[in-house]
């Protein structure tokens, strides 16, 4: 986080568009982006899915997937006990094998941030090798249908409770109505609310809910808009709407962060979330990341999987690779 950015969350937009960040100017800018051909995009994603990842590459891929997981529980029925259990799993994914890496973060509702932090104790960190981060969903997740004041309060509550990362949702209604300026302003305000008293910021993941945006052109504009407004990560979905993350949508978002890097030198993260349950699927995402933006993106600060059941499938495959045979669900811990 540069100081300049810390002072002005709109600095990216100002650098690219000038000081006129009116609705009209944003619209002109977004509508000037080149279109996305759905058939071609999906064909490219399908082609990337045919990569055959074996032996040493597979072993590396499985460990990398674990390192990139935001282990998630987002249910109305979440309790302190459930969060403690999730954190225990995050710290020690496979009790039978201490060489298993830790996940990047746990992702919970804002009111359970303190529980998660307490359970993590010394294992708390920034998501990399130093420890597990705590991410909180905010801004009236998952629908985003509330007043800005409520969204901001939701965000600052979570930040005050110690969340390292905020997963916000965009106002899809405003986006689909063409009010790009309104979406932009909300992200900018939430970004401000991510600011801690010491001047540092909680990382901001902006959830587009691509299943509701429906077209790839919309996904492209929403991604670009979120980045302009200060997103550290762009994230596909809440997991509450179908379809959630798909490979073509993730590929498109990766192409956008690649273009952004070429334009500005700045690296933005991507987080597909919801619906990625098998190792095979997750490996396809790794291939897509590596062949679209490069291997440097296979880092918890630039790529995450929002998932829960994925972890156990990866552990199962990992055991299979080490021992030569499959165990079963009963040999893996539920969280």
């Amino acid at each position: 986080m540069t100081i300049e950015q810390a002072l002005a969350p709109t600095s990216r937009a100002v650098r690219l568009l000038g000081t006129d960040l009116s609705e009209k100017n944003l619209k002109l800018h977004l509508e000037g982006l080149s279109g996305v051909d759905a058939v071609g995009l999906e064909a490219r994603a399908a082609a990337l899915s045919t990569r055959s990842i074996k032996t040493t590459s597979k072993a590396w891929a499985l460990d990398t997937i674990i390192r990139l997981i935001d282990l998630t529980t987002l249910e109305g029925a979440d309790t302190p006990g459930k969060v403690q259990s999730l954190v225990a799993k995050a710290k020690n994914p496979d009790p039978s094998d201490p060489t298993v890496p830790r996940v990047a973060a746990v992702c919970v509702y804002g009111d359970l941030v303190a529980e998660a932090l307490g359970a993590l104790g010394a294992a708390h960190g920034s998501g990399g090798p130093d420890g597990i981060a705590v991410a909180a969903v905010a801004t009236a997740f998952p629908s985003g249908r509330s007043s800005l004041a409520v969204k901001l309060a939701d965000t600052s509550d979570a930040v005050a409770a110690g969340a390292d990362e905020i997963d916000m949702v965009i106002d899809r209604g405003a986006f689909l109505a063409g009010n790009f300026g309104r979406v932009f302003d909300q992200i900018v305000e939430v970004k401000q609310a991510c600011r801690r008293p010491d001047g540092t910021f909680a990382a901001l993941k902006v959830i587009l809910e691509t299943g509701e945006l429906n077209t790839y052109d919309n996904v492209k504009r929403a991604s670009w808009l979120s980045i302009l407004a200060g997103a550290d990560f762009i994230k596909t979905s809440t997991g509450k709407v179908q379809p959630a993350a798909t490979l073509p949508v993730t590929l498109l978002m990766l192409q956008i962060v690649r273009d952004w890097k070429n334009l500005t030198g700045e690296r933005i993260g991507v987080k597909p979330a919801g619906g990625i349950r098998s190792s095979k699927d997750a490996i396809r995402y790794l291939v897509t990341v590596a062949e679209t933006v490069g291997e440097e993106w296979l880092d918890p600060h630039l790529f995450r999987f929002g998932a829960s059941s994925l972890l156990n499938d990866v552990l199962l495959q990992r055991q299979k690779l080490l021992t030569g045979h499959y165990s079963g669900a009963d040999y893996l811990t539920i969280d």
Binding site: S34, G35, V39, G40, R44, K54, T55, A61, L298
Partner: protein
Amino acid sequence: MSFLEYAPAPESKSILHLKKGYGLFIDGKFVDGHGSAFTTISPADESPIAKISTANEQDVNLAVVAARRAYEKTWSKMSGKDRGKYLFRIARLVQERTRELAVAESLDNGKPIKESRDVDVPLVAAWFFYYAGWADKLEYAGLGPAPRSLGVAAQVIPWNFPLLMLAWKIAPALACGNTVVLKPAETTPLSALIFAEILQQADLPPGVVNIITGAGDTGSSLVNHPDVNKVAFTGSTAVGRAIAKSTAGTGKKLTLELGGKAANIVFDDAPLDQAVEGIVNGIFFNQGHVCCAGSRLLVQENIHDEVIERLKVRLSTLRLGDPLDKNTDIGAINSKEQLDRIKMLSNIGEQEGATRWSSDCVIPSKGFWFAPTIFTGVETSHRIAREEIFGPVLSVLSFRTPAEAIAKANNTPYGLSAGIWSEKGSKILGVADKLRAGVIWANTFNRFDPASPFGGYKESGFGREGGRHGLGAYLEASWHMSAEHARSTRAPKSLPAATKTQAPSNPKRASEKGQVKITRKAAGK
């Protein structure tokens, strides 16, 4: 280690049960040829695969005689429904032996296994399924109420898609009631010979399909054999021209599918990432050994630099190497001869002043390889903009307006295919209308489907393969038959009795005297 180096993932060769040597497939059996045998090699490492017979004139004659006999005795008399059953059976057997055929194809041709597995062989099955469906519906092909098969078809196919070109030729020929003598290219006979085993497995009557191997001389004796009724050739324009000369005046029906120098036109309103994929697929698919390859990239000047930049980044992720590795994107060049031609034309490109860029990939020490290459600053007068290179070499030209794009695209002796990239539908339709090319792809490239006709304008040949149009190459329309001819016609037995409702609705055709009579007579037999 780098993740992108992907550990080797080779497809196993153990599924192949190759013989040491293969004879000619004549009259349902493998027999030794009388010419001198040759060895087919793997272009990836120059290792020998199998000994292959050469058919001399005598063998060609045996094959044509077998085909004639099968035509007279069995195939022309069989109902369309029954012919269809054989084709369906062949299609299913191809599907069952997909992996084996894919491995054989990649081994012998050098193309990546992911292409033979995901494109070539599935399309082969699709082609047989498609024409199997036509076999008992020929009276609806738009060729009159009783179109007639031609007889013996001599078919000569190239090495770039050995099995797929075989399917393009054999499936419609058999569906229409013809028998076949087919010669695969001398560098890629393997999959055709495995296909011959499939024909045995399918219990196809002996002589209906004969597969003879050998080089140009064998092909020449085949197309010049006096008892052949139809010649179908896919390959170079030079050979096509020679065949057109030698068959002229013989009464043999001819279709030619020849070279190309397709323009792939990228407008500034194109979906850029997908266009880059399309450019890659257009010229680097199958190492550029594609007659309809998008070998001339016409890119609008205002996005030229951006497109080239993206293209170079994308090309550097292409993986060149072992064709049998499932992660290989670019395989081997099919033969030394072809490699020499690609090198020669690339050197000429440099000498003429174009800027050469090749992706930085490790070239294996054995075998025939050529790194993906693009030439920028190419002018329409350069040889690399005019001649078919038939390799992984892209010539990039720029244009300013749609009119200039159309003029440049059409400025070629060829006319097989073209591509248009734009998000604007009206522009696509407007430009497509003015391009003189047989196939035009919009926002995609190198897509094939058995229901879609394929063929060229100008020096790219004539006749159409695929779809309903493809039937026309293997049938004689009822209204072309003279009354004399019609009396001797043996119409396929499946044809229903002609009724007034089946008479052609076109008044001009219906007024042709003898039309209705002919069909009644034919049907009455």
